[in-house]
Symmetry: C2
Subunit: 314 residues, 2 copies
């Protein structure tokens, strides 16, 4: 068994971009991404793991880089037909993408475990980094909007994150078990990295699987988080609005407060350097750099700086 | 309820072409196609009904006319992905096509009955003719090659009909029940037509569903068969080779002998006119015409002649 050296808690697009830099600066097979599955959805009878798939497609080099998700140059004839047959089509699924979902659905129906199915998919698509779901259990994130409770993808895709967020409900999370290699990946890692993902609906569900938060707290290894908030806004997705709705300060300081029990180093963007001192007062180090991952060079550079930060803690 | 006026026992491509002429010369809603489901297959976890789908796509005007099956200009990104993930890809499925299979699979899993699912699909795709599976039961055609027993699509697609055919096994056919509207469609029809389909693996399974053969024999209405064999060869598929393997004369006379208990009129091609007298000796009338459906005009013309033949019997 190859000993896992870096464990990365990961959501979707932001995490995938960070990981695509990381695997350029360390041997990819030393990286284990522990990925949110709280936003999985069963649609048209197909089991879809959006965050997992975004990361696999990104690391396989087939992602639609424009959108950040889905497969590049994919067609959508299958979804069009489903639409003609009366299905809702708000959850966009490409044809090649659906091949992955058909495979996963069929494997699970035959009794396979989610993490094994994902392992097969990432190997088949030539991804050398390990990609592990946070759990094999069907724990599902829901959004309490104050007027109703929406399954995550209803909130996120169908209703375009327009509802207020009063509370985040992780249904079934108390009964969930970490996937078999998760705790091991954290305890044997030389650094635990928290990707620039949504702290409530990407990293939050991972840390809420019983045993994972404790493993991150207990580890002697450095824990480094990259802020998903830059200059008071999220690069992508509803993180900023959620922070506001849930009563957090919408800034890297707000992020640092959420992670204060866990994190040794907070990596923030240059635009937020004025908040570094306040973050350090929370008891963590701060590294200020360029965190906007707008090119492969910048992704690689961010990954290098994060690794250096983790080494400096030791 | 609209009273069904024409009941057509139907297989795949040949039947679809015949039906596409028929619905041009009579009101399509007076036609009920009773379709073979013995060659259905569950593949990649998806329930596929090849003969049903060929007929729906043809009558919906979206069939790939070159191949005779599948959807015109369909892509195949889903199957390519399934191939990358280790699935066998000998059973060609287009992306739009897979949309139909996902829909059907999901509906059946939720407890729907096959004939109701097919009714929904044909209506959604704008097909006014009724399309009814011979049965809702999972009776499956197998080919005994003498050295093994192959599920039909293994013989037909995967092994390209190259194996000798010693016997045709209709597994589960004794327990199958006709779909709810089948017997009614036959008993209320003004004519029962047997499409130019394979008599062993297309028409044979339909007639073997308990009750259907009896209904065709008992009806007072004319029964007209169009020969799938022209000048000793099948227009498409393995019918001729099967006839030979199974000890039948490979000719329209051989076809007439297979249908002798059922049929009042046999429609044969001009190329076979020399056999007309021998067929008439079996106790049926013969109509000689051009049965090669190489254009819409020829399809329409054949349909008209078949209808006239049925009216002349009365």
């Amino acid at each position: 068994m190859c000993k896992s050296r870096l464990a990365v808690l990961a959501g979707g697009v932001g995490a995938a971009r960070f990981l695509s830099g990381l695997v350029h600066v360390v041997p990819p097979e030393t990286v284990t991404a522990i990925v949110n599955t709280g936003d999985d959805i069963v649609i048209h009878g197909l089991k879809v793991c959006p965050d997992i798939d975004i990361i696999i497609y990104t690391l396989a080099g087939i992602v639609d880089t424009e959108k950040g998700w889905g497969i590049e140059d994919d067609t959508s004839n299958c979804l069009s037909m489903l639409g003609k047959l009366g299905h809702e089509t708000w959850f966009r699924l490409g044809d090649g993408d659906i091949g992955v979902h058909i495979h996963r659905t069929e494997q699970l129906r035959q009794g396979a475990i989610l993490e094994d199915v994902i392992e097969d998919i990432r190997l088949a698509l030539g991804v050398p980094a390990r990609i592990v779901p946070m759990t094999n259990s069907p724990a599902q994130t829901h959004i309490d909007t104050g007027t109703g409770i929406l399954p995550f993808q209803e909130y996120f895709v169908r209703r375009a994150c327009l509802d207020p967020v009063q509370n985040i409900i992780l249904k079934g999370i108390e009964e969930a078990l970490p996937a078999s290699s998760v705790l091991d990946a954290i305890s044997t890692a030389e650094a635990v990295l928290i990707a620039p993902s949504n702290p409530f609906v990407s990293i939050g569900p991972i840390l809420s699987v019983p045993g994972i938060r404790d493993a991150v707290i207990r580890t002697n290894t450095p824990v480094v988080a990259i802020s998903p908030i830059i200059a008071g806004a999220a690069v992508k997705g509803p993180a900023a609005r959620m922070m506001e709705n849930l009563g957090h300060e919408v800034s890297v300081l707000g992020i640092a407060r959420i992670y204060r029990d866990l994190v040794d180093v907070m990596v923030i963007d240059r635009q937020d350097s004025a908040l570094a001192a306040q973050i350090e007062e929370l008891g963590m180090r701060v590294v200020v750099t360029d965190t906007v991952m707008s090119s492969q060079r910048k992704k690689n550079s961010l990954a290098k700086i994060v690794l250096q930060a983790s080494e400096n803690v030791k």
